[in-house]
């Protein structure tokens, strides 16, 4: 029954024959799929480990205490979106993310050790402890994010403008939630990007809730993609719990952008398994709904497909184990790293 409800708006699970056809048409090899499985596992292990560590020293709950301070927005459940998009990108491409940025950063290739260290506020972190979890920057892989909702759209458009201006075939990707897409910057950026044919890909991660506000009471239609279509932007509504579906749409969008065709929009229907932020009482949704979506866990789903395609269970477990080891090592690195010198707080306002 629960599965039936979900299948009303996501696609039915393919048979083995259709699955083989799908993988073939996507131009994907088993090794690539295994790599995606690893990447998604890495993100999940990272988020769950950060989630566990976050609550250390927070009983009673107090954001200022424990080894990780401040707010924490984790992405468990949304891995397929980040990896499906990220697998199509190069190091030179730009990604601008949101207040929920870890999965995007990892999928773009950020070193998880530096990422973890930044979240712990350590000197070895990406930004030397100045940014923290919501303000991650990694020039090495051209990744940035913002804690301000709706801010990613124009910034990615600016990078796309620069690529086009210089005649480079790089693309820029803006991630945002379905809540952020209600912001004026969404429509403004769609218009400008279409007008100037920018190599831009806007990815709306629809996880159904803007903080605590269900989509049903914040959006006048079920989706955003038709708003992009009204500005002549090719738009894809994809199953955000299916990495292959996200990958396929992104591949088309990236091809179009790299060849000078202009922007695309990808709207990925997905779900966050954890609260909007850690400590979220989640009064706005039923426990049953979360459990229902967990049946569509994108990592389990890809694992099942790989098994169907003949990959041994041990190979999957080995990938999962490797991911966990990498995360353990990253957190150890972060915890053991020194805090920044207090005096560095007074430097770096200006170049």
């Amino acid at each position: 029954m629960k599965r039936i409800v979900i299948h009303m708006f996501l696609k039915p699970e393919p048979t083995v024959k259709d699955l083989k056809g799908l993988v073939e048409s996507a131009g994907l090899t088993l090794d690539q799929l295994l790599e995606m499985y690893y990447e998604m596992s890495l993100i999940r292990e990272f988020e769950e480990a950060i989630g566990a560590k976050y609550y250390e020293g927070k009983n009673p709950f107090n954001m200022a205490s424990g080894p990780i301070r401040g707010e924490m927005h984790l992405s468990s459940g949304q891995e397929a979106v980040a990896v499906g998009v990220g697998s199509n990108l190069r190091k030179e491409d730009v990604v601008v993310s949101t207040h929920r940025p870890h999965h995007h950063a990892i999928a773009k290739g950020t070193d998880v050790r530096k990422l973890a260290a930044e979240i712990f506020g350590k000197s070895t972190g990406l930004c030397g402890g100045k940014g923290g979890h919501m303000h991650l920057f990694d020039k090495e892989v051209r990744f940035s994010c913002s804690g301000i909702v709706g801010a990613s759209f124009p910034q990615a458009a600016g990078a796309a403008f620069a690529f086009k201006y210089r005649g480079e075939d790089n693309v820029a990707v803006a991630f945002a939630g379905e809540g952020a897409a209600n912001h004026g910057t969404f429509y403004e950026t769609l218009n400008a990007a279409s007008l100037w044919e920018l190599p831009l890909i806007l990815v709306v991660e629809d996880n159904m809730y803007a903080d605590s506000t269900p989509k049903s009471i914040a959006l006048a239609t079920p989706h955003h993609f038709q708003r992009a279509m009204s500005l002549n932007i090719p738009s894809y509504l994809v199953d955000g719990m299916d990495v292959i579906d996200v990958y396929l749409a992104t591949r088309k969008a990236v091809q179009r952008a790299r060849s000078g065709g202009g922007p695309s929009l990808i709207e990925a229907v997905t779900y966050r398994f954890r609260g909007h932020f850690e400590g979220d009482g989640q009064e706005y949704r039923e426990r049953d709904e979360v459990e229902m979506w967990r049946l569509m866990d994108p990592i389990t789903r890809l694992g099942n497909r790989l098994t169907k395609l003949g990959v041994e269970k041990e190979r999957l477990e080995e990938r999962r184990k490797k991911a966990k080891e990498k995360v353990d090592e990253a957190l150890k690195f972060a915890e053991e790293s020194p805090y920044p010198e207090p005096s560095t707080a007074l430097t770096g306002v200006f170049r």
Partner: protein
Amino acid sequence: MKMKGISQAIAQGIAQEMERRNDIVVLGEDVTYWGAVFGFTMGLFDKFGRKRVVDTPITEQTFMGMAVGMASVGLHPVVSLMFVDFLGAGFDQMYNHMAKNHYMSGGQFPMPVTVITAVGGGYGDAEQHSQVLYGLFAHVPGFKVVVPSNAYDAKGLTIRALRDPNPVVIFGHKLLTGLPFLPYEGEEDEVPEEPYELEFGRAIVKTEGSDLTVASVGVMVHRAMRVAEKLRKEGISVEVVDLRTLVPLDEETLSRSVKKTGRLLIVDEDYMSYGMTGEVAFRIQSRAFRELKAPIQRLTVPDVPIPFSEPLEREVIPSEAKIEAKIREMVR
């Protein structure tokens, strides 16, 4: 060459840098045919075309955000904010991103962006088109704040801004633009044809004096100079200091002047409270307390919006008459 007003000087500075470098792109509303309305981009469209001089849709938030994205991958955008009063529509991208990304990223992402905006009242444009608001920008860490009072400074400071790896906001006063549809309160200046840059954080003594120092920026510098000229004939010797940039602020030049005169009047077209006048007064009292013969005074827009009707507008924006009265009161 002789030049009337800051607009032509700013546009010439941008053009000369654009000829030299491909990383500069100009964007904003009406930056082509209308030269950003107040002339700061005049002539650039003819020289560089639409590829480098880009009229944007009316979307301050988005073109400010685009400037952040452009700067993050190595361009140097020059963004026109037509009237500073419109900053409300784009300020998030400015103060939360443009001004902070270098710091937040631990120095990974410099933000070489030059924003040019028109400021000031005195021609009946009322509450939403007459403000100066540089105090808001100067308050947020991460912006350099430039307020040129003449064409020579405007060109040199603009070129300096275009070579700066940080966000710089240039506030051009509408009554100093030299455009035919506005009153003009400046002089004709000699402006070298070749490119040159002026350092930020260097105030300049415009008129020397010994009884009192007036510190100011923009159009108020000219009003203060005319008052100083008038009072000189009566034996009141006023020194006028043009601060030129508020961030960084040249405390040295100003405090040297105040130590000499013992009196300081700060004249500002911004709102009074929590603004430039309070900040400059604080810094100078801490450097020249012993030499002060009288409390530091200020003349600003009292804490009201800029009203429309001419007598009302005159009442709130510091005039020569008000500056004169204040000086007389202080040296009495």
